[in-house]
Protein backbone atom coordinates (compact mmCIF):
# COMPACT_ATOMS: atom_id res chain seq x y z
CA UNK A 1 0.00 0.00 0.00
CA UNK A 2 1.46 3.34 -1.10
CA UNK A 3 0.93 6.22 1.30
CA UNK A 4 0.32 9.68 -0.14
CA UNK A 5 1.71 12.16 2.41
CA UNK A 6 -0.78 14.90 1.40
CA UNK A 7 -3.67 12.66 2.41
CA UNK A 8 -1.96 10.79 5.26
CA UNK A 9 -1.20 14.01 7.14
CA UNK A 10 -4.77 15.29 6.78
CA UNK A 11 -6.15 11.92 7.85
CA UNK A 12 -4.02 12.05 10.98
CA UNK A 13 -5.31 15.57 11.66
CA UNK A 14 -8.89 14.38 11.17
CA UNK A 15 -8.58 11.26 13.35
CA UNK A 16 -6.79 12.98 16.23
CA UNK A 17 -9.14 15.95 15.89
CA UNK A 18 -12.26 13.79 16.06
CA UNK A 19 -10.90 11.96 19.08
CA UNK A 20 -10.34 15.30 20.80
CA UNK A 21 -13.89 16.36 19.82
CA UNK A 22 -15.22 13.22 21.48
CA UNK A 23 -13.14 13.91 24.57
CA UNK A 24 -14.55 17.43 24.85
CA UNK A 25 -18.09 16.05 25.12
CA UNK A 26 -17.11 13.82 28.05
CA UNK A 27 -15.08 16.62 29.63
CA UNK A 28 -17.94 19.11 29.34
CA UNK A 29 -20.53 16.62 30.66
CA UNK A 30 -18.45 16.08 33.79
CA UNK A 31 -17.73 19.77 34.22
CA UNK A 32 -21.45 20.49 34.29
CA UNK A 33 -21.20 19.23 37.91
CA UNK A 34 -19.45 22.53 38.63
CA UNK A 35 -22.70 24.35 37.90
CA UNK A 36 -24.30 22.76 41.02
CA UNK A 37 -24.35 24.51 44.43
CA UNK A 38 -20.87 24.74 45.96
CA UNK A 39 -20.80 21.87 48.47
CA UNK A 40 -22.81 19.44 46.31
CA UNK A 41 -20.48 20.18 43.42
CA UNK A 42 -17.41 19.70 45.62
CA UNK A 43 -18.47 16.22 46.76
CA UNK A 44 -19.55 14.95 43.34
CA UNK A 45 -16.72 16.52 41.38
CA UNK A 46 -14.00 15.24 43.71
CA UNK A 47 -15.51 11.74 43.78
CA UNK A 48 -15.68 11.72 39.99
CA UNK A 49 -12.07 12.92 39.69
CA UNK A 50 -10.86 10.20 42.04
CA UNK A 51 -12.75 7.59 40.01
CA UNK A 52 -11.09 8.91 36.83
CA UNK A 53 -7.59 8.78 38.31
CA UNK A 54 -8.05 5.23 39.60
CA UNK A 55 -9.66 3.78 36.47
CA UNK A 56 -7.10 1.85 34.35
CA UNK A 57 -9.19 2.33 31.18
CA UNK A 58 -9.13 6.09 31.69
CA UNK A 59 -5.34 5.87 32.01
CA UNK A 60 -5.12 4.39 28.50
CA UNK A 61 -7.49 7.03 27.17
CA UNK A 62 -5.44 9.73 28.90
CA UNK A 63 -2.32 8.61 27.05
CA UNK A 64 -4.27 8.50 23.76
CA UNK A 65 -5.32 12.04 24.56
CA UNK A 66 -1.76 13.29 25.14
CA UNK A 67 -0.69 11.58 21.95
CA UNK A 68 -3.59 13.10 20.00
CA UNK A 69 -2.77 16.63 21.13
CA UNK A 70 0.91 16.14 20.27
CA UNK A 71 0.24 14.52 16.87
CA UNK A 72 -2.44 17.09 15.99
CA UNK A 73 0.08 19.86 16.71
CA UNK A 74 2.99 18.22 14.87
CA UNK A 75 0.96 17.43 11.76
CA UNK A 76 -0.53 20.94 11.80
CA UNK A 77 3.02 22.25 11.69
CA UNK A 78 4.12 19.91 8.88
CA UNK A 79 0.96 20.68 6.87
CA UNK A 80 1.39 24.44 7.34
CA UNK A 81 5.02 24.30 6.18
CA UNK A 82 4.05 22.39 3.02
CA UNK A 83 1.14 24.77 2.38
CA UNK A 84 3.39 27.81 2.70
CA UNK A 85 5.81 26.20 0.24
CA UNK A 86 2.94 25.58 -2.18
CA UNK A 87 1.99 29.28 -2.11
CA UNK A 88 5.29 31.14 -1.72
CA UNK A 89 3.96 34.48 -3.01
CA UNK A 90 0.79 35.93 -1.51
CA UNK A 91 -1.64 38.15 -3.40
CA UNK A 92 -1.35 41.88 -2.94
CA UNK A 93 -5.15 41.99 -2.63
CA UNK A 94 -7.09 38.91 -1.51
CA UNK A 95 -10.75 39.05 -0.47
CA UNK A 96 -11.00 35.62 1.14
CA UNK A 97 -14.02 36.73 3.19
CA UNK A 98 -16.05 36.77 -0.04
CA UNK A 99 -15.52 33.09 -0.81
CA UNK A 100 -14.93 31.36 2.52
CA UNK A 101 -15.36 31.60 6.28
CA UNK A 102 -12.69 33.43 8.26
CA UNK A 103 -12.20 30.46 10.60
CA UNK A 104 -11.51 28.06 7.73
CA UNK A 105 -8.78 30.38 6.44
CA UNK A 106 -7.22 30.77 9.89
CA UNK A 107 -7.29 27.36 11.53
CA UNK A 108 -3.58 27.71 12.33
CA UNK A 109 -3.99 30.92 14.33
CA UNK A 110 -7.05 29.49 16.09
CA UNK A 111 -5.13 26.29 16.77
CA UNK A 112 -2.23 28.20 18.35
CA UNK A 113 -4.68 30.03 20.64
CA UNK A 114 -6.28 26.71 21.62
CA UNK A 115 -2.83 25.22 22.25
CA UNK A 116 -1.87 28.16 24.48
CA UNK A 117 -5.11 27.57 26.36
CA UNK A 118 -4.37 23.85 26.74
CA UNK A 119 -0.86 24.49 28.08
CA UNK A 120 -2.09 27.00 30.67
CA UNK A 121 -5.03 24.75 31.54
CA UNK A 122 -2.65 21.81 32.08
CA UNK A 123 -0.37 23.93 34.26
CA UNK A 124 -3.40 25.00 36.33
CA UNK A 125 -4.80 21.51 36.90
CA UNK A 126 -2.94 18.56 35.43
CA UNK A 127 0.53 19.65 36.61
CA UNK A 128 -0.74 20.29 40.16
CA UNK A 129 -2.88 17.17 40.51
CA UNK A 130 -0.96 14.58 38.52
CA UNK A 131 2.64 15.84 38.68
CA UNK A 132 2.48 17.54 42.09
CA UNK A 133 4.06 20.71 40.68
CA UNK A 134 3.09 23.92 42.42
CA UNK A 135 0.90 24.30 45.50
CA UNK A 136 -0.13 20.98 47.05
CA UNK A 137 -3.75 19.89 46.53
CA UNK A 138 -5.73 19.23 49.74
CA UNK A 139 -8.41 16.61 50.53
CA UNK A 140 -12.14 17.03 51.07
CA UNK A 141 -14.28 15.56 53.90
CA UNK A 142 -14.72 12.27 51.96
CA UNK A 143 -10.95 11.86 51.63
CA UNK A 144 -10.86 12.63 47.90
CA UNK A 145 -8.33 15.06 46.44
CA UNK A 146 -10.08 18.43 46.51
CA UNK A 147 -9.98 19.30 42.82
CA UNK A 148 -13.05 21.46 43.32
CA UNK A 149 -11.05 23.75 45.60
CA UNK A 150 -8.41 24.11 42.88
CA UNK A 151 -11.14 25.11 40.43
CA UNK A 152 -12.89 27.36 42.94
CA UNK A 153 -9.69 29.25 43.79
CA UNK A 154 -8.68 29.58 40.14
CA UNK A 155 -12.06 30.92 39.09
CA UNK A 156 -12.08 33.50 41.84
CA UNK A 157 -9.23 35.16 40.04
CA UNK A 158 -10.99 37.46 37.60
CA UNK A 159 -8.12 37.31 35.10
CA UNK A 160 -8.42 33.53 34.85
CA UNK A 161 -12.21 33.78 34.48
CA UNK A 162 -11.74 36.17 31.55
CA UNK A 163 -8.99 33.98 30.04
CA UNK A 164 -10.96 30.73 30.36
CA UNK A 165 -14.13 32.27 28.97
CA UNK A 166 -12.59 34.35 26.18
CA UNK A 167 -10.42 31.52 24.82
CA UNK A 168 -13.57 29.48 24.21
CA UNK A 169 -14.29 31.73 21.22
CA UNK A 170 -11.29 30.52 19.17
CA UNK A 171 -12.02 26.99 20.37
CA UNK A 172 -15.60 27.21 19.09
CA UNK A 173 -14.50 28.59 15.73
CA UNK A 174 -11.80 25.92 15.43
CA UNK A 175 -14.31 23.16 16.24
CA UNK A 176 -16.98 24.49 13.88
CA UNK A 177 -14.69 24.18 10.88
CA UNK A 178 -12.64 21.27 12.18
CA UNK A 179 -15.47 18.85 12.89
CA UNK A 180 -17.09 19.02 9.45
CA UNK A 181 -13.75 19.26 7.68
CA UNK A 182 -12.51 16.09 9.45
CA UNK A 183 -15.47 14.09 8.16
CA UNK A 184 -14.87 15.31 4.59
CA UNK A 185 -11.17 14.52 4.87
CA UNK A 186 -12.10 10.99 5.90
CA UNK A 187 -14.24 10.65 2.79
CA UNK A 188 -17.78 11.41 3.98
CA UNK A 189 -19.48 12.81 0.87
CA UNK A 190 -23.19 12.00 1.26
CA UNK A 191 -24.92 15.16 0.05
CA UNK A 192 -27.78 15.41 2.56
CA UNK A 193 -25.49 14.00 5.22
CA UNK A 194 -23.11 16.91 4.69
CA UNK A 195 -25.92 19.44 5.14
CA UNK A 196 -26.80 17.74 8.43
CA UNK A 197 -23.10 17.59 9.36
CA UNK A 198 -22.76 21.36 8.89
CA UNK A 199 -25.66 21.91 11.32
CA UNK A 200 -24.33 19.37 13.83
CA UNK A 201 -20.89 21.03 13.69
CA UNK A 202 -22.39 24.43 14.42
CA UNK A 203 -24.48 23.12 17.34
CA UNK A 204 -21.51 21.14 18.68
CA UNK A 205 -19.21 24.17 18.52
CA UNK A 206 -21.75 26.43 20.23
CA UNK A 207 -22.53 23.90 22.97
CA UNK A 208 -18.84 23.27 23.72
CA UNK A 209 -17.78 26.93 23.59
CA UNK A 210 -20.75 28.27 25.57
CA UNK A 211 -20.74 25.30 27.96
CA UNK A 212 -17.08 25.62 28.92
CA UNK A 213 -17.31 29.41 28.73
CA UNK A 214 -20.04 29.86 31.34
CA UNK A 215 -18.58 27.48 33.95
CA UNK A 216 -15.84 29.90 35.14
CA UNK A 217 -18.41 32.71 35.37
CA UNK A 218 -20.88 30.56 37.37
CA UNK A 219 -18.12 29.37 39.74
CA UNK A 220 -16.91 32.97 40.14
CA UNK A 221 -20.29 34.05 41.46
CA UNK A 222 -20.62 31.12 43.88
Amino acid sequence: MKINPLFFRKNMMALTGLFLCLFLIVHLSANCLLLLPKETARGLYNAYSTWLRENPLIMIIAYALYLSIILHTIYALVITIRNKQAKPVKYAVNHTQENSRWASQNMGILGILVLIFIVIHLVNFWARVKLGIGEEVGYDAAGNKDIYEVTYTLFHNVYYVIFYTLLMIPLGLHLHHGLQSAFKTLGFYHKRGLILLAKVSLIYAIVVAVGFGIIPIVVYFQ
Binding site: K2, Y91, T185, G187, Y189
Partner: protein, 247 residues
Protein backbone atom coordinates in the same frame (compact mmCIF):
# COMPACT_ATOMS: atom_id res chain seq x y z
CA UNK B 1 -15.70 55.28 -18.31
CA UNK B 2 -12.18 55.52 -16.96
CA UNK B 3 -10.38 52.90 -14.91
CA UNK B 4 -6.93 52.46 -13.45
CA UNK B 5 -5.46 49.01 -13.96
CA UNK B 6 -2.77 48.05 -11.44
CA UNK B 7 -1.21 45.15 -13.32
CA UNK B 8 1.56 42.72 -12.36
CA UNK B 9 4.36 43.06 -14.91
CA UNK B 10 7.07 40.43 -15.05
CA UNK B 11 9.38 40.06 -18.04
CA UNK B 12 9.99 36.32 -17.63
CA UNK B 13 9.96 33.49 -15.08
CA UNK B 14 13.20 34.43 -13.32
CA UNK B 15 12.75 38.19 -13.53
CA UNK B 16 11.54 40.24 -10.60
CA UNK B 17 8.01 41.49 -11.15
CA UNK B 18 6.17 44.54 -9.88
CA UNK B 19 2.85 46.33 -10.20
CA UNK B 20 2.43 49.06 -12.77
CA UNK B 21 -0.50 51.47 -12.97
CA UNK B 22 -2.27 52.20 -16.25
CA UNK B 23 -4.96 54.85 -16.45
CA UNK B 24 -7.28 53.85 -19.29
CA UNK B 25 -10.04 56.04 -20.69
CA UNK B 26 -12.65 55.55 -23.41
CA UNK B 27 -13.95 52.35 -21.89
CA UNK B 28 -17.61 51.35 -21.96
CA UNK B 29 -19.61 49.32 -19.48
CA UNK B 30 -20.44 46.74 -22.16
CA UNK B 31 -16.79 45.89 -22.70
CA UNK B 32 -15.62 42.60 -21.30
CA UNK B 33 -12.66 42.66 -18.96
CA UNK B 34 -10.47 41.05 -21.63
CA UNK B 35 -11.60 43.64 -24.20
CA UNK B 36 -10.47 46.34 -21.80
CA UNK B 37 -7.06 44.67 -21.63
CA UNK B 38 -7.04 44.51 -25.47
CA UNK B 39 -7.85 48.22 -25.53
CA UNK B 40 -4.99 48.93 -23.11
CA UNK B 41 -2.61 46.81 -25.18
CA UNK B 42 -3.50 48.77 -28.34
CA UNK B 43 -2.56 51.95 -26.51
CA UNK B 44 0.70 50.35 -25.35
CA UNK B 45 1.53 49.29 -28.92
CA UNK B 46 1.09 52.87 -30.14
CA UNK B 47 3.33 54.05 -27.32
CA UNK B 48 5.93 51.46 -28.36
CA UNK B 49 5.71 49.75 -24.96
CA UNK B 50 5.62 46.03 -24.38
CA UNK B 51 2.06 44.73 -24.27
CA UNK B 52 0.56 42.95 -21.27
CA UNK B 53 0.72 39.18 -21.73
CA UNK B 54 -2.50 37.41 -20.76
CA UNK B 55 -4.11 34.15 -21.84
CA UNK B 56 -7.45 33.65 -23.56
CA UNK B 57 -9.02 31.52 -26.24
CA UNK B 58 -12.78 31.12 -26.69
CA UNK B 59 -13.96 34.16 -24.68
CA UNK B 60 -17.21 32.27 -24.18
CA UNK B 61 -16.45 30.86 -20.73
CA UNK B 62 -15.89 27.31 -21.84
CA UNK B 63 -12.21 26.84 -22.67
CA UNK B 64 -10.51 27.59 -19.35
CA UNK B 65 -7.62 29.53 -20.85
CA UNK B 66 -8.29 32.93 -19.31
CA UNK B 67 -7.89 33.44 -15.63
CA UNK B 68 -6.36 36.17 -13.51
CA UNK B 69 -6.79 37.40 -9.96
CA UNK B 70 -8.89 40.58 -10.11
CA UNK B 71 -9.37 42.77 -7.04
CA UNK B 72 -8.66 39.93 -4.64
CA UNK B 73 -10.81 37.27 -6.32
CA UNK B 74 -10.02 34.57 -8.87
CA UNK B 75 -11.84 35.55 -12.10
CA UNK B 76 -12.97 38.81 -10.50
CA UNK B 77 -15.70 39.91 -8.09
CA UNK B 78 -18.44 37.49 -9.19
CA UNK B 79 -18.73 33.85 -8.18
CA UNK B 80 -18.68 30.96 -10.65
CA UNK B 81 -17.64 32.80 -13.81
CA UNK B 82 -14.44 32.86 -15.87
CA UNK B 83 -12.49 36.07 -16.45
CA UNK B 84 -13.84 36.46 -20.01
CA UNK B 85 -17.39 36.58 -18.65
CA UNK B 86 -16.60 39.59 -16.47
CA UNK B 87 -17.71 42.97 -17.83
CA UNK B 88 -16.77 46.50 -16.93
CA UNK B 89 -20.32 47.19 -15.67
CA UNK B 90 -19.15 45.31 -12.56
CA UNK B 91 -16.86 48.24 -11.76
CA UNK B 92 -17.46 51.91 -11.03
CA UNK B 93 -16.07 54.76 -13.08
CA UNK B 94 -12.69 55.77 -11.66
CA UNK B 95 -12.06 52.42 -9.88
CA UNK B 96 -8.60 50.98 -9.50
CA UNK B 97 -8.50 47.31 -10.49
CA UNK B 98 -5.66 45.17 -9.17
CA UNK B 99 -4.77 42.40 -11.62
CA UNK B 100 -2.41 39.61 -10.56
CA UNK B 101 -1.44 36.27 -12.08
CA UNK B 102 -2.43 33.00 -10.35
CA UNK B 103 -0.06 32.52 -7.41
CA UNK B 104 1.17 28.97 -6.75
CA UNK B 105 4.52 27.23 -6.68
CA UNK B 106 3.13 24.64 -9.12
CA UNK B 107 2.04 27.45 -11.50
CA UNK B 108 5.26 29.40 -12.24
CA UNK B 109 4.83 32.74 -14.00
CA UNK B 110 5.85 32.73 -17.66
CA UNK B 111 5.26 36.41 -18.35
CA UNK B 112 3.06 39.10 -16.77
CA UNK B 113 -0.31 37.44 -16.17
CA UNK B 114 0.45 34.12 -17.86
CA UNK B 115 1.32 31.13 -15.68
CA UNK B 116 2.49 27.65 -16.64
CA UNK B 117 -0.35 25.25 -15.82
CA UNK B 118 1.30 22.14 -17.25
CA UNK B 119 1.23 20.62 -13.74
CA UNK B 120 -2.48 20.02 -14.50
CA UNK B 121 -1.55 18.30 -17.76
CA UNK B 122 0.79 15.96 -15.92
CA UNK B 123 -1.96 15.06 -13.43
CA UNK B 124 -4.19 14.28 -16.43
CA UNK B 125 -1.43 12.19 -18.02
CA UNK B 126 -1.40 10.04 -14.90
CA UNK B 127 -4.77 8.45 -15.42
CA UNK B 128 -7.51 10.84 -16.53
CA UNK B 129 -8.29 8.62 -19.51
CA UNK B 130 -9.22 5.01 -20.24
CA UNK B 131 -6.60 2.84 -21.89
CA UNK B 132 -9.08 0.61 -23.80
CA UNK B 133 -9.20 1.03 -27.58
CA UNK B 134 -12.73 2.20 -28.21
CA UNK B 135 -12.67 2.37 -32.01
CA UNK B 136 -15.26 4.56 -33.67
CA UNK B 137 -18.11 6.08 -31.71
CA UNK B 138 -20.35 3.21 -30.54
CA UNK B 139 -24.15 3.13 -30.38
CA UNK B 140 -25.06 5.66 -27.68
CA UNK B 141 -27.24 3.31 -25.68
CA UNK B 142 -24.92 0.30 -25.81
CA UNK B 143 -23.82 0.99 -22.23
CA UNK B 144 -26.73 2.00 -20.04
CA UNK B 145 -25.98 4.55 -17.33
CA UNK B 146 -28.55 5.77 -14.82
CA UNK B 147 -29.39 9.44 -14.93
CA UNK B 148 -28.18 10.15 -11.38
CA UNK B 149 -24.75 8.71 -12.18
CA UNK B 150 -24.61 10.38 -15.60
CA UNK B 151 -25.48 13.74 -14.02
CA UNK B 152 -22.80 13.43 -11.38
CA UNK B 153 -20.19 12.39 -13.92
CA UNK B 154 -21.12 15.32 -16.17
CA UNK B 155 -21.03 17.78 -13.26
CA UNK B 156 -17.45 16.69 -12.55
CA UNK B 157 -16.53 16.54 -16.24
CA UNK B 158 -17.51 20.21 -16.57
CA UNK B 159 -14.09 21.18 -15.15
CA UNK B 160 -12.27 23.33 -17.74
CA UNK B 161 -8.92 23.24 -15.96
CA UNK B 162 -8.64 27.03 -15.58
CA UNK B 163 -6.77 26.75 -12.29
CA UNK B 164 -8.97 29.12 -10.27
CA UNK B 165 -9.29 26.46 -7.54
CA UNK B 166 -5.51 26.38 -7.07
CA UNK B 167 -5.28 30.15 -7.39
CA UNK B 168 -7.84 30.94 -4.73
CA UNK B 169 -6.84 28.17 -2.32
CA UNK B 170 -4.73 29.46 0.54
CA UNK B 171 -2.66 26.27 0.26
CA UNK B 172 -2.62 26.14 -3.56
CA UNK B 173 -4.26 22.73 -3.37
CA UNK B 174 -5.25 21.06 -6.63
CA UNK B 175 -7.75 18.82 -4.84
CA UNK B 176 -10.86 20.15 -6.61
CA UNK B 177 -9.34 19.78 -10.09
CA UNK B 178 -7.96 16.30 -9.41
CA UNK B 179 -11.17 15.18 -7.71
CA UNK B 180 -13.29 16.38 -10.63
CA UNK B 181 -11.20 14.41 -13.12
CA UNK B 182 -11.15 11.28 -10.95
CA UNK B 183 -14.87 11.31 -10.08
CA UNK B 184 -15.85 12.00 -13.67
CA UNK B 185 -14.19 8.81 -14.92
CA UNK B 186 -14.53 6.60 -11.85
CA UNK B 187 -18.29 6.97 -11.63
CA UNK B 188 -18.82 5.73 -15.20
CA UNK B 189 -18.66 2.05 -16.27
CA UNK B 190 -15.90 2.81 -18.80
CA UNK B 191 -13.70 4.26 -16.08
CA UNK B 192 -14.30 1.57 -13.48
CA UNK B 193 -11.76 -0.86 -14.97
CA UNK B 194 -8.80 1.30 -13.95
CA UNK B 195 -10.53 3.13 -11.10
CA UNK B 196 -8.15 2.29 -8.25
CA UNK B 197 -4.94 2.83 -10.20
CA UNK B 198 -6.30 6.14 -11.49
CA UNK B 199 -6.93 7.51 -7.99
CA UNK B 200 -3.54 6.36 -6.73
CA UNK B 201 -1.58 7.73 -9.70
CA UNK B 202 -3.35 11.06 -10.09
CA UNK B 203 -3.21 11.91 -6.37
CA UNK B 204 0.47 10.92 -6.32
CA UNK B 205 1.19 13.29 -9.21
CA UNK B 206 -0.75 16.02 -7.41
CA UNK B 207 1.66 15.59 -4.49
CA UNK B 208 4.74 15.49 -6.74
CA UNK B 209 3.78 18.76 -8.44
CA UNK B 210 4.03 20.64 -5.15
CA UNK B 211 0.39 21.49 -4.53
CA UNK B 212 -0.72 21.96 -0.90
CA UNK B 213 -3.25 20.21 1.32
CA UNK B 214 -7.02 20.68 1.12
CA UNK B 215 -8.36 22.61 4.14
CA UNK B 216 -11.98 22.58 2.94
CA UNK B 217 -12.27 26.36 3.12
CA UNK B 218 -14.72 26.10 0.22
CA UNK B 219 -13.16 29.00 -1.70
CA UNK B 220 -12.51 26.79 -4.74
CA UNK B 221 -16.15 25.91 -5.38
CA UNK B 222 -17.11 29.58 -5.15
CA UNK B 223 -14.50 30.67 -7.70
CA UNK B 224 -14.89 27.66 -10.03
CA UNK B 225 -16.48 28.90 -13.31
CA UNK B 226 -18.28 25.55 -13.55
CA UNK B 227 -19.42 25.54 -9.93
CA UNK B 228 -17.90 22.14 -9.26
CA UNK B 229 -18.89 21.11 -5.75
CA UNK B 230 -16.29 20.65 -3.04
CA UNK B 231 -18.14 17.43 -2.18
CA UNK B 232 -16.07 16.00 -5.04
CA UNK B 233 -12.97 16.28 -2.86
CA UNK B 234 -14.58 14.27 -0.06
CA UNK B 235 -15.61 11.70 -2.66
CA UNK B 236 -12.04 11.52 -3.98
CA UNK B 237 -10.83 10.96 -0.40
CA UNK B 238 -13.25 8.06 -0.06
CA UNK B 239 -12.11 6.62 -3.40
CA UNK B 240 -8.47 6.92 -2.33
CA UNK B 241 -9.15 4.94 0.88
CA UNK B 242 -10.84 2.26 -1.19
CA UNK B 243 -8.00 2.20 -3.73
CA UNK B 244 -5.34 2.01 -1.01
CA UNK B 245 -7.06 -1.00 0.53
CA UNK B 246 -8.09 -2.79 -2.68
CA UNK B 247 -5.75 -1.40 -5.33
Amino acid sequence: MQLTFRIWRQEQAQAKGSFKDYKVGELTEDMSFLEALDHLNEILVLQDESVIAFEYDCREGICGQCGVFINGRAHGPHSNISTCQLHLRSFKDGDTIVVEPWRAKAFPIIKDLIVDRSAFDRIIENGAYISAKTGTAPEANAILIGKAIADRAMDAAACIGCGACVATCKNSSAALFTAAKINHLNSLPQGKLEAHQRVLDMTTQMEVEGFGHCSFTGACEVECPEGISITNIAEMNARLFKAQILG
